[in-house]
């Protein structure tokens, strides 16, 4: 081959390679823009909530940019998020995070959606020592591995249904019975998140000396729990607890209606995500549903105002939301923590920013945020809402309750 003709080819190849290497080193901060990275689910089984979370991130970034951005070292920076679709598979999340760090040069991260994908993300974050503030991975197992760069603004999963145990005890005592007389029936999906929820319930039930009469685990492809509900009819518990993501809530609500289950108190997770009120109507009245956040709570901050203001602004920005899912609210809150941490660190150095995040102690429209050494948020409780005439009203803990709890529930 002619050497003269080869030279430009080699030169061009080197130039391209050079660009590829030169680009990323600067990419974490491009001019006056700080890039946050996130691999999140736009397709696959988590896509609905993945998009709720993305909307939450986007409205947070837009708000901060509109209010003058992030001030670091006397200079104002805008925020921008670089997204990748992890297709709801943890393996892909891990690959994409490697790509964000190595090829795109991103040094600051927002979380994926779900505990499973966050679990896959955490080791990568630790390996490269880049901080991640996540908002959608609640599993307790994320916070007992000694991770130093993972922070979560949401309450961990063992708190989801534990508050219903306290409420059941309270009601039993009000009716002149002992808390230890309460009989519990529960069915949880056999996955890390739901089993965490179960662990929290068992811990609290043991504290009150309550008896667990049914303790079923539902399979991953669950489409029928009628045999468990037949047991419920036979054993007549005082409290029925269900948790199995949206599919558990939908299957449960449908079969509770079909079998006319009349347990005085029923609590289940993911009521809103499964849209049970619009699907099953009045039969879902008086169900108790835990939530990370509700627009009626009295938290507020300087960015969005009160929780109710956030709710209004979110609905105005994004079409098609009748209720704002808490998944969006907590995603927004994690963006607010980033701004706060950058400004307190007054530096763009990942180590310094990480230390600033660890020292966070702030109030947002979403609730208080203060991280335990393990990285989970300890400043915000879960609240319990009850479906009353198709509306979700906060009924416990009593400090935040907007409505009294309806008890006993009647089968409809």
């Amino acid at each position: 081959m002619n050497t003269k003709r080869l030279i430009p080819v080699v030169a061009a190849t080197l130039a391209v390679a050079g660009l590829a290497f030169a680009g990323p080193a600067q990419a974490k901060v491009e001019g006056d823009t700080i890039i946050l990275g996130s691999a999140i689910s736009f397709t696959g089984k988590y896509s609905t909530n993945g998009i709720h979370a993305k909307n939450g991130y986007d409205i947070g970034v837009a708000k901060i940019n509109a209010m003058g951005g992030v001030k670091v070292g006397g200079k104002s920076y805008k925020l921008k998020i670089q997204y990748y679709d992890d297709e709801s598979t943890p393996l892909r999340t891990a690959q994409l995070l490697e790509r964000l760090v190595n090829q795109d040069g991103v040094k600051y991260f927002l979380g994926p959606y779900s505990s499973a994908t966050t679990k896959a993300a955490a080791p990568i974050i630790e390996k490269y020592k880049v901080p991640m503030i996540e908002a959608e991975g609640a599993s307790r197992s994320l916070f007992n591995k000694g991770y130093k760069y993972l922070f979560a603004v949401l309450s961990t999963s063992e708190q989801y249904l534990a508050s219903s145990i306290g409420l059941a005890a309270e009601i039993a005592e009000k009716n002149g019975k002992k808390a230890s007389d309460v009989k519990i029936a529960m069915a949880f999906e056999n996955d890390p998140f739901s089993l965490d929820v179960r662990a929290g319930v068992l811990e609290d039930a043991k504290k009150y000396g309550m008896k667990v009469v049914i303790d079923d685990k539902m399979p991953r492809d669950l489409n029928d729990i009628s045999s468990t509900l037949t047991k419920v009819k036979a054993l007549k518990p005082d409290l029925l607890l269900l948790s199995g993501h949206s599919k558990g809530a939908a299957t449960g609500a449908r079969q509770i209606k079909e079998m006319k289950i009349d347990v005085p108190m029923i609590a289940l997770t993911h009521c809103e995500a499964a849209k049970i009120t619009s699907k099953f109507g009045a039969s879902t009245n008086d169900f108790l549903c835990p939530t990370q956040w509700a627009p009626t709570l009295t938290y507020k901050d300087k960015y969005f105002g009160t929780a109710a203001d956030y709710d209004k602004e979110f609905k105005k920005t994004f079409d098609g939301y009748k209720n704002v899912p808490y998944q969006s609210a907590q995603a927004t809150a994690s963006v607010l923590v980033w701004k706060d941490a950058f400004e307190r660190a007054n530096s763009l150095d990942p180590e310094k920013v990480r230390d600033a995040i660890a020292a966070t102690d702030m109030e947002t429209f979403y609730g208080g945020i203060k991280f335990a050494p393990e990285g989970n948020n300890i400043a915000k409780p879960m609240v319990l809402r009850q479906i009353q005439n198709g509306e979700y009203n906060v009924v416990a803990p009593s400090k935040w309750a907007s409505h009294p709890v309806n008890w006993p529930r009647k089968a409809q």
Binding site: T43, G44, K45, Y46, S47, T48, S88, A187, N190, D215, D216, K217, M218, P219, D221, L222, N223, D224, I225, S226, S227, T228, T230, K231, K233, A234, L235, S246, K247, A250, T251, R254, K257, E258, M259, K260, D262, A273, A274, K275, K279, A411
Partner: protein
């Protein structure tokens, strides 16, 4: 486990609930399994996308329900749409693998199953859906046993569909051609039967039967894009237990499987409900193996 059994002996009325629920859902299992037996027996294609056809039928009924058409009217539409879809799949995929070895057709239908599940997920999202019939729910024995009217209707419809298919296979020209092809495809060709057309019709008929089963399942259970595999496994268990040409056996095995799942869930806990199905498959295979060994010894 013993606690749960003692409930059933102390309050036998709960047996009625379990048996009824098992029979209702079992009838839809039997329907889907009959379709599988047909394709397996006539074409020797083991359709791994069977459950995904079922779920697809369910989504058609559910989607029509959302447009304001009662899911029971969605049932015939689902049958027609799935018949057409089955024909398309036959022409584009199955025809090319039918005379290849077993693994080719297994791989092709497995691939089809994955594509269908992902396509449903893209179109309708990953949420669990149910088609609402808004029929009454009756209770008996002081609310210990509840029966939703839609389940009774679905059970009756399954029966009607089974009778229609049997009459069709017995009496129509196409039905006779299908049976002739199943007995000996080459002889059927010699007699002037267009076996390619028979195969296309058989495969489409199976898809239509799945469509019907799926529409009923969406009304009495729940559907989700990735639930197809469970229904595929059930169909395989039923057909392996009952054999191909044996409609009575398929119905008994289907209903039996439905009841067994309910008892499994009640006695062992919900986590073992589907494990029962797979456990039964293993038991049936072992039994068949032993039976065959005995047969071989006789031949020797």
């Amino acid at each position: 486990m013993w606690d749960n059994i003692s409930i059933l002996t102390a309050a036998p009325v709960f047996n009625i609930q379990l048996i009824l629920d098992g029979l209702f859902i079992g009838s839809t299992f039997a329907l889907a399994a009959y379709g599988l037996a047909l394709v397996w027996g006539v074409m020797n294609v083991k359709n791994l996308a069977q459950g995904d056809f079922v779920i697809m039928g369910g989504y058609i009924a559910w989607w029509l329900g959302k447009q304001g058409i009662h899911p029971l009217w969605g049932l015939p539409i689902s049958i027609v749409v799935m018949f057409t879809f089955g024909w398309l799949v036959y022409v584009t995929i199955i025809r090319r693998v039918i005379d290849k070895d077993m693994f080719t057709s297994l791989l092709a239908t497995f691939g089809l199953a994955i594509v269908l599940a992902q396509a449903l997920n893209l179109m309708f999202g990953p949420e669990v859906q149910t088609a609402e019939s808004d029929f009454a729910i009756r209770s008996y024995f002081d609310n210990s046993v509840t029966v939703a009217d839609i389940k009774l209707v679905a059970f009756a419809l399954c029966g009607v569909l089974a009778v229609v298919v049997v009459l069709f296979m017995k009496n129509s020209r196409m039905g006779q051609a299908i049976r002739a092809t199943a007995q000996d495809a080459r002889a059927a060709r010699v007699m002037g039967i267009d076996t390619d057309k028979v195969y296309a019709f058989t495969f489409s008929l199976n898809a239509a039967i799945c469509g019907a089963a799926g529409a009923l399942i969406s009304m009495i259970w729940v559907i989700q894009p990735f639930y197809g595999i469970g229904h595929s496994i059930r169909s395989f268990v039923i057909v392996t237990a009952a054999g191909f040409g044996n409609l009575g056996g398929v119905i008994m095995a289907g209903l039996g499987l439905g009841v067994m799942e309910q008892y499994g869930g009640f006695v062992l806990g919900a986590e073992y409900q589907q494990a029962c199905v797979v456990g039964l498959l293993v038991a049936v295979l072992i039994y068949r193996q032993l039976e065959m060994r005995r047969h071989r010894q006789v031949v020797q």
